[in-house]
Symmetry: C2
Subunit: 332 residues, 2 copies
DNA sequence: TTGTATGCGTTATCAT
DNA sequence: ATGATAACGCATACAA
């Protein structure tokens, strides 16, 4: 890599002159600027980013800690994060916790050595279930800003970007009750022990209670044959006329199983799931989904974190990113 | 952040003594080491990574440039990359080209300033279609190692990690011909203009030619209503008794459409697609897939790049990661 | 065993 | 208009 020193030597001028010339300082003559810029161009000079980071004590880099990227929700969040970070001249260093507390902790510790200016994090499943989040609080103690999105820890005070999980499922359930006159609505889930899962289940329960209906929940986390389990449930409960899935996968499976049982969708059974950009391509009839606008979650998270990093008067806040109910063929 | 200087001042010793003590140098007395380590522990000292990077002229960071992460194939590759990088004490900076030549170019240029030690890249669709890859060659000119995976550019000489696309589809097609006695095998695809798509189509053609059968290809890239297009094709060609999908989505749609036409799967129609970890959960009957072992692609890529970065005698090579045909319910 | 000096590449301050 | 020097934090060759 070409350095200032090399340019200076070749031009027989000092390093500081070269530096100033490249930064278009008024102290430098037009002639010198021209000579310097020409040579810099020719040798493809680029200021060494690491040296700048050391000098400025800023990395312009954000640490992003995600449970996984195989889940399309987080994939789309990451898309939003990357795009917005790039637009604001930030790089992102990505770590995947794989839902492990230990990996999450190590990643945070490793990057808390000046590698990044701040963190975006979704707490790992294990950390959340075991309620161990001291490692996150410790990062905040070292004055490195942290923003939590999606899954959050109430006890920790920091910026947060979330979805209105409770309201969303409440609304979706109410839609099935009031608009589609469904009486026996099943909730299927493989995320029941996550904070967001609990909130969604509460929304479902509230809507049913208000309507005087009974709630039925099929918990599928750690279940091996998800398809068979749903099939057997539907077979044993033929009265089921509505399904709310609170994740992005069990709703599609439920549609397939219902079809195998010769249930007409949406005539006999309405289905609403959670989903992302192309989710509804995957089922026939196309599944109606709660679209969480994952991209926007990523976008808002980056913007809020950068505000924290750059704005003296930044105030901690919690942003709720609006979601939308995207009705398709699996509802009437 | 605590620095060596601060520790030195507090202990009334020199910076270099502190540095050596922390690095467990034999030059330093046990007593001093103890004092230093205790204070370092107490103040939660961590060596500033940026300063180390500048000193060593190494970042221990890999730049990863992906077209997207919403595609589960790349998501799983990224998983393999992250895990393997972490195990080898490397960070990853992730950039998403979004299939755009321009974004890919800018990302490469931005990180070619000392930010990373090397690159892992899958060429963007636009770059590949327009055959513009000078920006990648330029990075190599600056002596920063680049490794291409999945989609590769033949004209550029560098490490490569690929899948045996030709052979895979050849084998899958032959399976339908020889084992399942299929005569009218359709290929569906939404990636026909990518290098990997072309290779896969060639494998399909070869197998059919050898068997004296006719090839039929349904190209779906840029098609709006993929489901309807497949439906209409199958309706107009009821003789179709086998389908090869060369991407991870059109195979599932084909199964759904065939069922809508009351075709029995796999009795009337066998289907093989491409897919990843949980792909087969999404269809009923479960789809048979070519599993590309995306995770391994990521893993091998990192290992090969690190060898290039650290091994004096590294020789450029192309690794073919073996895939497997995972038969499930959509074949007999 | 400990300390001093130097340099990584850049930029800001202070001479000349 | 140009140059010398110092500093960011760390590591190491070299003195003492």
């Amino acid at each position: 890599m070409t350095t200032l020193k090399e340019l200076a030597k070749l031009l027989n001028i000092s390093v500081s002159t070269v530096s100033k010339a490249l930064n278009d300082s008024h102290e430098i003559s037009e002639n010198t600027k021209r000579r310097v810029n020409e040579l810099a161009e020719k040798l493809n000079y680029k200021p060494n980013r690491i040296a700048q980071q050391l000098k400025n004590n800023k990395t312009k880099t954000i640490g992003v800690i995600l449970p996984t990227v195989t889940n399309p929700f987080f994939a789309e969040v990451l898309h939003g994060i990357e795009k917005t970070a790039t637009e604001n001249d930030y790089d992102i260093i990505v770590c995947l916790s794989n839902e492990s507390l230990d990996k999450e902790k190590r990643s945070l510790e490793l990057l808390s050595n000046g590698s990044v200016d701040g963190f975006l994090i979704t707490v790992a499943r294990e950390s959340q279930v075991k309620e161990k989040t001291d490692h996150i609080a410790e990062v905040l103690n070292t004055k490195i800003p942290v923003l939590m999105f999606d899954r959050v820890v109430n006890e920790i005070s920091c910026d947060k970007v979330i979805v209105n999980d409770f309201q969303l499922v409440y609304d979706a359930t109410q839609y099935l009750i009031k608009r589609e006159r469904r009486k026996n609505i099943l909730l299927v889930s493989n995320i029941e022990e996550l904070s967001v899962g609990k909130l969604r289940i509460r929304g479902y329960r509230k809507a049913l209670e208000e309507a005087g209906l009974e709630s039925n929940i099929l918990k599928l986390d750690n279940v091996k044959d998800v398809d068979k389990t749903i099939y057997e449930y539907l077979k044993g409960h033929p009265e089921t006329d509505g399904i709310i899935s609170i994740d992005h996968i069990t709703g599609i499976i439920a549609i397939n199983m219902a079809k195998n049982l010769n249930k007409a969708i949406p005539k006999d059974l309405s289905v609403i799931g959670f989903g992302y950009e192309h989710t509804n391509l995957l089922s026939s009839p196309k599944i109606s989904i709660v679209h969480q606008n994952a991209y926007n979650i990523g976008e808002m998270s980056v913007k809020l974190l950068i505000d924290n990093l750059t704005n003296e008067n930044h105030e901690l806040q919690t942003i709720v990113v609006p979601s939308e109910l995207k009705l398709s063929e699996s509802t009437q």
